[in-house]
Symmetry: C2
Subunit: 491 residues, 2 copies
């Protein structure tokens, strides 16, 4: 049954939560009295629809339903998760929780997006403190996987386990903190850097744009990949980590005195920052910045997905969990209809696959077909272990007919026919569809090779048997329209 999330507060954070829940198949009820909440939420969800579904390599479930509610009681009654993202004022939150708890189910979690307060703060005036936790995300909520999960000693282990389940279900990585404190971990780290950056601006050592450059061109890419401790371990180049740490002790004490002061954010400093940031931005400017942010974040997160590292490892875990639901077999035995073309890809078009024509660019058609080939190889037994044992397939020939266009966020599915699989060869036929639309066909000839000699060799018996069984079972289908053609015959 479809789960339901109630989102209390429809600012940029609340709308981000709404988008993340929706696109992971939850129904979402949004409560916010502001008149512009529907339009504002729609904007965030439109962005998320382009950027989120294609982040991983396996399709998300069908999106849920969004509804807006003027009554809190209506929004939270029967909901499976309640997420509060109202402004960060303690009394406001404590009062709000009393009303919410009148209508919420007692066993349901009430997560707060607060950055400033601890669970103990939030639970203080509550009749059921055990259901209140901190679940603090980072912006944009629909793209970045981090969520800081904090409980007090009044939350039981079962509640915390339920939180992990739900947050992982919507593609996040809950970082469960070991102690309560304001600003949690991520914002404490951010503010330390941020405060130092303010001194640099105030003292005229760098402009805001120069500080941004210093981060974007060095620490940012490094930290996206490894975080500071792993980076230090690598930079130490083999030195014992304890010794490396003690070696930096003098630096920590060095008289870089601004490091330990708090700058005074007076009007002059605020104005200088605004001017250097070319502020105030027009609305159009800001939308362009948001477009650029999403596209670049998607590109970075997908780069990490390809490497299965950092945020990419979170995406990989989500993909693995969704394979069966998306209709992808994980073993040869799971191929339920061998006489039909085998489903080999079920995914969405990533935002970074578009080109200047506004549609999925041609090379990504082959990337999709190559993934389909890999999946078919995997199913018939040419998996990672097989490759490690010294044999694999190399593609020697490819014929793609590009039949129709497709845009970011759209669903893609490939089915694969084995035209032949015997001797040293495998001959495949892929069809790529979005819904009912045929987007492309791919005809591919592969040779089975010995990775030592890099020369072709006979298929091993298991592969030969499985491939020929699929080829025979599928031979009863009419021959694929377009196979065996040369360029110029196809259209």
């Amino acid at each position: 049954m479809t789960s339901t999330a109630a989102i209390i507060g429809g600012g940029v954070i609340g709308a981000g939560w709404a988008a993340r829940f929706l696109l992971h198949g939850w129904n979402v009820r949004l409560f916010d009295p502001a008149p512009e909440v529907q339009a504002r939420t729609a904007q965030v969800i439109d962005r998320a629809r382009l950027a989120l579904p294609g982040l991983g390599d396996v399709a998300l479930p069908e999106a849920g339903q969004l509804s807006f509610h003027g009554l809190m009681s209506e929004a939270v009654a029967g909901a499976d998760w309640v997420q509060e993202s109202v402004p960060d004022r303690l009394e406001l939150k404590q009062t709000l929780y009393q009303t919410l708890q009148d209508y919420m189910e007692p066993g349901v979690v009430l997560g707060s997006s607060t950055r400033s307060f601890t669970p103990t703060d939030l639970q203080a005036m509550s009749k059921r403190p055990e259901q209140i936790v901190v679940a603090h995300p980072v912006q944009p909520v629909y793209l970045l996987p981090l969520v800081e999960l904090v409980g007090s000693d009044r939350n039981g282990a079962a509640v915390m386990a339920r939180c992990v389940d739900v947050l992982e279900d919507i593609g996040m990585r809950p970082l469960q903190l070991r102690a309560e404190q304001p600003a949690h971990v991520s914002d404490r780290l951010a503010q330390a850097l941020w405060r130092e950056a303010l001194w640099l601006i105030r003292d005229g050592i760098a402009t805001t744009q120069e500080v941004d450059a210093a981060i974007r061109l060095g620490l940012g890419p490094t930290w996206a990949q490894s975080g500071p401790f792993e980076a230090a371990r690598i930079a130490g180049a083999g030195a014992d980590m304890a010794r490396a740490m003690q070696a930096i002790a003098p630096e920590l004490k060095a008289p870089w005195s601004r490091l330990t002061d708090v700058p005074d954010m007076d009007a002059a400093l605020a104005r200088r920052i605004a001017e250097q940031s070319e502020d105030p931005p027009g609305v159009a400017d800001l939308a362009m910045l948001e477009d650029a942010r999403d596209a670049s974040l998607v590109a970075i997160l997908r780069a990490l997905r390809g490497r299965n590292q950092g945020a990419g490892a979170v995406l990989a875990r989500g993909d693995a969990r969704r394979r069966a639901e998306a209709g992808l077999a994980s073993t040869y035995a799971e191929i339920t209809s061998p006489e039909q073309p085998v489903p080999t890809v079920a995914r969405a078009v990533p935002l970074d696959w578009l080109d200047y024509n506004g549609h999925m660019t041609e090379a990504r058609y082959l990337e999709v077909f190559a993934t389909a080939t890999d999946q078919l190889m995997d199913l018939v037994g040419c998996d990672a272990d097989y490759v490690a044992s010294g044999k694999s397939f190399f593609t020697v020939e490819t014929h793609i007919r590009h039949i129709d266009e497709v845009r970011a966020g759209a669903h893609l599915a490939v089915t694969t026919r084995v035209l032949a699989g015997a001797g040293k060869r495998m001959h495949l036929w892929h069809e790529l569809r979005s819904g009912d639309r045929l987007l492309a066909t791919g005809e591919h000839m592969l040779l089975h090779v010995d990775l030592e000699t890099r020369r072709s060799c006979e298929l091993t018996p298991v592969l030969a048997e499985r491939l020929s069984r699929l080829a025979e079972a599928q031979a009863t289908l009419p021959p694929p329209e377009g196979a065996g053609r040369h360029i110029g015959q196809g259209f």
Copy 2:
């Protein structure tokens, strides 16, 4: 004439500089008395050869020559740049500079990789202070483009301009600081965050791996893309930046008290960090971490190259500067031999283009051919302005014959023949080579389309004329071997 850099000190920083200069076509002379310097430098350069040449989209010049020298006089005599990367002790550096200046040319820059000292510190005992500057890189020096460039008032504008020229020539982005101070900008920011991270470890709020996760899954990707100020501007979602800054003033003063203390790095804290980081690492572990770091950094930097943002914009500028030298025409008039296949790609294989078979993966063959098609389109007049005016080409059919394999860092070149270009069609033939080896052929049929209706339409006169002129000029060549074939005929 080939320029020469003298690298003084062959640790991981010095070797990184050596690799960067070498792979940008400089000869490099390395001075370091340590017996293991040659083997250690070779390791770093081997890594750089895989990772650096494919970072951008245009080939680097041919690599320079590396030599090792036991005498400083021999290393620096006649060199065009001297880069010092010895341990960060002021007296050591000041003494060293006296010897270096005895043998260096007076007009040549002596850059120091120091993180702790200012140019005024370094110049104090020197006979020619004007030639000494700080040029502080980040690790890995051969991949990340940031270099902090700092002068004192004793360095003239001509010296600083020369620094910018040289550092840009080796693919870096010099960030010229407005004032001297220890730790420059990047390390001040890093240390602020680092100190806060140490408190989190010491207070048991998070482990080193949890701090790394908090950064990798949120702030890291964000900062890689935008830096902190631009991120704040977007997160503020349209609020006036000055007002947004003043709104955070109370947070800056909030009693998150650890923020302003310096933790004591005693043996217990150092040991805890080492244990949590799974330290000490075996050498093999560390090499694996370095492999993973380089591959992920390359993937992130290339993702940003595709977006022309942050570090990607630095790569794009380098590419633009090298096009002519790499033999790529930028206008139709620059096609010097229209009767020959047109050079359309000159690049190296990026590290993130490899697959489980250890070679460039099949989809990247089409990516290279698609780039070649784009370049040909651009030359005949279907450029960004033309696309913006509402017309473009869509590929409708592709036939690739994969003939040979290629590895990371190897040079790739595509030449393109126009088989036909008339009516609504363009028929292209690409050949992909690495040196003399033919790696693949690509036959592509494209339709000229109206981007409004998404339907095919006649070529405009300029395009038709240029395409048919190329097709006619090249028609005297023998027909390409393999064109017009269908799958299975090719081998």
